[in-house]
Each structure stands twice: as structure tokens, then as C-alpha cells.
């Protein structure tokens, strides 16, 4: 006779449950829309168009090839902000499931992250087509995107674990998160380049240092842009050191998230 496995243990057996949840998320998101999946790249395209008009033609940004520079960073940014906002409510949203089945709770944030990753892949597919049309010629440096994405996914999952636990106690998180992600958007080198930050004579060196070291997203966005458009000519001297620091940040946040989650996950069904 078998004893039931300790609930909460995440094993590969739960992969199918994760795929089912992702499938559900994708089906439900565009259930009544005529364009369906197209929205996952139409939205970023529209935003990129507007931002190009504003920053390039109205504010006169001197970045060459502005819309492409923006595109390469905007896709991972959308992934980050959407995953964070969806992830923060992943337990509350599926509270009925949490109250009904003793599955390992971790599959909720993981599947929420995976659904958003699917949208990112659609976005990258469009970028790929644009690269062929322009044409941008492909090189091996572009593969650097993969490790950057892994660091970003780890960071996002860690934050999602922390935020979704907190959200069970304070619904304020959701509202706070909306404006925080907007702030963070401007604190990352997305609509401007890292060169502009480093060349600024109004920022003291300590702020410039902090800008790169203190925000684990900064080296990643520098990385995406450089890997995809500039063939690995890393613009910051100590780029790999900074990427390493970003990876350490992400690992710490992920570890913290897992710890907090382990501590609280079995209290979720008791919440009213």
C-alpha cells in the first residue's frame, strides 16, 4: 500500500498540470476577441510606434534606429511587467482551486510565468520576421539573449513568489504594483541607452554606479539590445561583472521567494 506523497512537493509529474493551466490562461485571455493571439504582438507594436513618435520625433532623441532599439528591450520589458502583474494575483485568482485540491502551490506562479513567456515568444517571432525583412544579419551573439532571459525569469519568479504571498494579506499590492512597474520602466535603459546615462554630466558617478549595480534589470536590458543589434560590442567596460551582479541579485530574490512561499503556501486555503 502506498502512502500519499507529502503534499507540496514539486516534482516533474506536475508538468502536465502546468501545461493545462497555461493552456487555460491562453484560451481565456483572448476568448472573445476576433484578433486573438495577434494581440500579444499588436499591443507592443502600437506602443513602440507611439513611443517612437514621442521620443524620436517630438523630443528629438539622438538614438539611431530608435524603434528597433526600443523593440529589442520592450519585448522583455512587457514580459517582466505582465508576468509581475499577473503573478502577484496568481493565488487569489485561483483561490477556488487552492481550496479544492492539494496540488503543490508552486505550480500557480510557475504556470503564470509560463503563459507570459508564450507571449514573449510570439513577440520574438515578430522581431525575427522584421530582422529578416530589414535585413539585419544574424550572428551568434544573438544567442546571448537566452542566458539573459534565464536570469530575468529567475528574478521575475522570485518577485512573483514574494508579491503573491504578500497579496494574500494586503490587496494593496496590486494597486501599488501598477505604478511601481511604470516607474521601473523609466529606471531601466529602454527608451534611452546606457550611454546617455553614462555621458550625463548632471548625474554624479555614484548614481551612475548605483543605476547599474542596484537594478538587476539594467544589465539585462543593455544585454538584450547589444546582443540583438550590436553584435556583442558591450557598451559598458565591466558589463560581465554587472551581469554577474544581476544574476546574484536574481538568485537571492528567488531564494527568498521560495523560502517565504514554503512558509506560507499552506495557509493560503485558510484565507477568506
Amino acid at each position: 500500500m502506498s502512502t500519499t506523497a507529502k503534499p507540496g512537493a514539486l516534482s516533474p509529474a506536475w508538468r502536465w498540470a502546468i501545461t493545462q493551466l497555461v493552456r487555460r490562461d491562453l484560451k481565456v485571455r483572448y476568448k472573445n476577441s476576433a484578433l486573438g493571439f495577434c494581440w500579444s504582438f499588436l499591443n507592443p507594436l502600437m506602443q513602440i510606434a507611439v513611443m517612437t513618435i514621442v521620443f524620436r520625433y517630438i523630443m528629438g532623441s539622438r538614438i539611431q534606429n530608435f524603434s528597433m532599439e526600443l523593440f529589442t528591450c520592450f519585448l522583455p520589458w512587457m514580459f517582466f511587467s505582465q508576468a509581475l502583474n499577473d503573478g502577484a494575483v496568481c493565488v487569489s485568482k485561483d483561490f477556488l482551486l487552492v481550496k479544492k485540491y492539494p496540488f503543490p502551490r508552486m505550480i500557480l506562479p510557475i504556470s503564470s510565468l509560463c503563459s507570459n513567456f508564450v507571449h514573449l515568444c510570439f513577440g520574438f517571432a515578430v522581431l525575427f520576421i522584421i530582422f529578416i525583412l530589414l535585413p539585419v544579419h544574424f550572428n551568434v551573439y544573438m544567442l546571448w539573449v537566452i542566458p539573459f532571459l534565464i536570469i530575468q525569469a529567475a528574478l521575475t519568479l522570485g518577485l512573483v513568489l514574494l508579491l503573491s504571498t504578500l497579496h494574500m494579506y494586503y490587496e494593496d499590492i496590486r494597486f501599488l504594483l501598477g505604478s511601481l512597474t511604470q516607474l521601473l520602466f523609466f529606471l531601466c535603459p529602454i527608451v534611452y541607452t546606457i550611454d546617455q546615462v553614462l555621458e550625463s554630466d548632471r548625474l554624479a558617478p555614484i548614481w551612475k554606479e548605483l543605476y547599474i549595480v542596484g537594478n538587476p534589470l539594467t544589465p539585462l536590458f543593455i544585454g538584450y539590445r547589444t546582443a540583438l543589434l550590436h553584435g556583442g560590442e558591450w557598451p559598458v567596460p565591466d558589463f560581465w561583472l554587472y551581469t554577474g551582479i544581476s544574476a546574484v541579485w536574481s538568485a537571492i530574490i528567488l531564494a527568498l521567494g521560495v523560502l517565504v512561499w514554503r512558509r506560507y503556501q499552506w495557509q493560503f486555503p485558510e484565507m477568506v
Partner: protein, 250 residues
């Protein structure tokens, strides 16, 4: 005597009940340091019993006596504050009506999702899929979103999915009262067959008649403690007698 399927030893479950729902801004600041004033509520205290293969146990008691908490603890959804629960085999059941079905997804998609979340593999779920559709009698509606289902239809789908995998321990919380006569008879008949195969049944209901009809043993919970545990007739009799007294004096 064979080994017990469910063994519960000195089980206790404590809840922290929140009082405030709409805290003021001032309180919100205080709350950061001392989150939500809570009251401790012992939903279950010092509960011990064991149940063997093929047994059917009805759990009775007034509202708030801890019946549903006990069922959820056996299911592994809640973790005990104190004490131990050993369940040999899978525990599965039906708690709230339709809860957990996604309204926008079809019945078919919901079967797959529920099966996956119960921890069954893709093959296991696909093997039982036809049985679930047949038992729920929803073949004509299986590709329609669940939001269009009546409560009876949702219940049929939920029940069929819950019992399809023939868990060792069956947990049924109230819900069957919503079904029509025909489905109730069919459902109870199926539960009886599963018991003959060796499943253990736990049933929570306020309908004492159905507890008497379907359970050989009853546990009477009062304020989180076991008041009586024994043959259904005796326990239900004692429960009714006290309820009668309570009404007479109160």
C-alpha cells in the same frame, strides 16, 4: 483486523480569524507592524479516530463544529496545527458545488484541468475521460463553456470527475443534496460500489436521513471536539435528542 486507511491522532487545527475587512488609513499604517488583529479559533481540538477499508463514516454537528475542516485536513488541503493524519492511498472528493471549474472553459477542458490538478497523469485522465462524460450524462454539453451549466449539471460533472479515479478515501461535503433524485440515487449507488471495492467514505451532511441511509458509523463533532463516535443510529439518536432538548430549554 486490516490496517486503518485513515488514522487521525490528537488532531488540532487553529485558525486566525480576521475581523477587520475595511481598515482605515491610520490602521493601515499600524497594520504594517501588526498585521490584522486576529482572534484565535480552534476549529478542531484533540480529535482522534481511525477508519478502515470499506467503512462509511458520516460526520454530523452544527454549523462551525469543524466538519468541513476535518474533511479538508483528510484531503491534504489544510495542514494540521497539531497532531497527525495518516492517509494510506489517495484521498479525493467533492467540496463546494462547481468550485474550481473555470466558467469560460468547456466541460471537456475542465475535466482535463481538474484531473491534472488532482495529480493524475495525462494518460490516467484520458483513460477515464469517457467514463466521466458518461457518468455525468453531459455528452451533449461537454464542449460548451461551464458558465452555461445549471448548478445540477456542474455538480454532475464535479462528482463524476471526483470519483472517476476511484480514490482510496472518498470525501463528500454536502453537495449531493442539490442533485435531482435520479442522479442522487446513481451517485450513492456508485459510492456504495466503490466501498465494496475497499474505498473509505467520509460524508458531511445536515440531512441526517441520508447519513443514516448511507453511513454505518457516525462521528458527532461539537465545537471542534468529538462528542460521540459509534454506530450511526446511536450517534444520530443522541444528537437529535440533544437538539430537541436544546430547543425545549432555549
Amino acid at each position: 483486523m486490516s490496517q486503518a486507511v485513515v488514522e487521525v491522532r490528537n488532531l488540532a487545527k487553529k485558525y486566525h480569524v480576521r475581523h477587520e475587512r475595511m481598515p482605515s488609513i491610520k490602521r493601515a499604517v499600524v497594520r504594517v507592524f501588526r498585521p490584522y488583529p486576529t482572534e484565535v479559533l480552534w476549529a478542531l481540538r484533540d480529535v482522534s479516530f481511525s477508519a478502515g477499508s470499506g467503512e462509511s463514516v458520516g460526520i454530523i454537528g452544527s454549523n462551525g463544529s469543524g466538519k468541513s475542516t476535518l474533511l479538508r485536513l483528510i484531503a491534504g488541503i489544510l495542514v494540521p496545527t497539531d497532531g497527525e493524519i495518516t492517509v494510506r492511498g489517495a484521498a479525493g472528493g467533492l467540496f463546494e458545488l462547481a468550485a474550481g471549474f473555470h466558467p469560460e472553459l468547456s466541460g471537456a477542458d475542465n475535466i482535463l484541468l481538474s484531473g491534472a490538478l488532482m495529480g493524475y497523469s495525462r494518460r490516467q485522465v484520458e483513460d477515464r475521460y469517457q467514463d466521466i462524460v458518461a457518468f455525468s450524462e453531459l455528452a451533449d454539453f461537454i464542449d460548451v463553456p461551464v458558465k452555461t451549466y445549471s448548478s445540477g449539471m456542474s455538480l454532475r460533472l464535479g462528482f463524476a470527475t471526483a470519483i472517476a479515479f476511484e480514490p482510496q478515501v472518498l470525501l463528500v461535503d454536502e453537495v449531493l443534496a442539490v442533485a435531482d433524485e435520479h442522479f442522487q440515487r446513481k451517485a450513492y449507488g456508485h459510492l456504495a460500489r466503490l466501498r465494496e471495492k475497499g474505498s473509505t467514505l467520509f460524508m458531511v451532511s445536515h440531512e441526517l436521513a441520508s447519513i443514516e441511509r448511507h453511513c454505518t458509523r457516525a462521528i458527532w463533532l461539537e465545537k471542534g471536539k468529538i462528542r460521540a463516535d459509534g454506530p450511526t443510529e446511536e450517534v444520530v439518536g443522541a444528537y437529535l435528542a440533544e437538539q430537541g432538548n436544546g430547543n425545549a430549554t432555549g
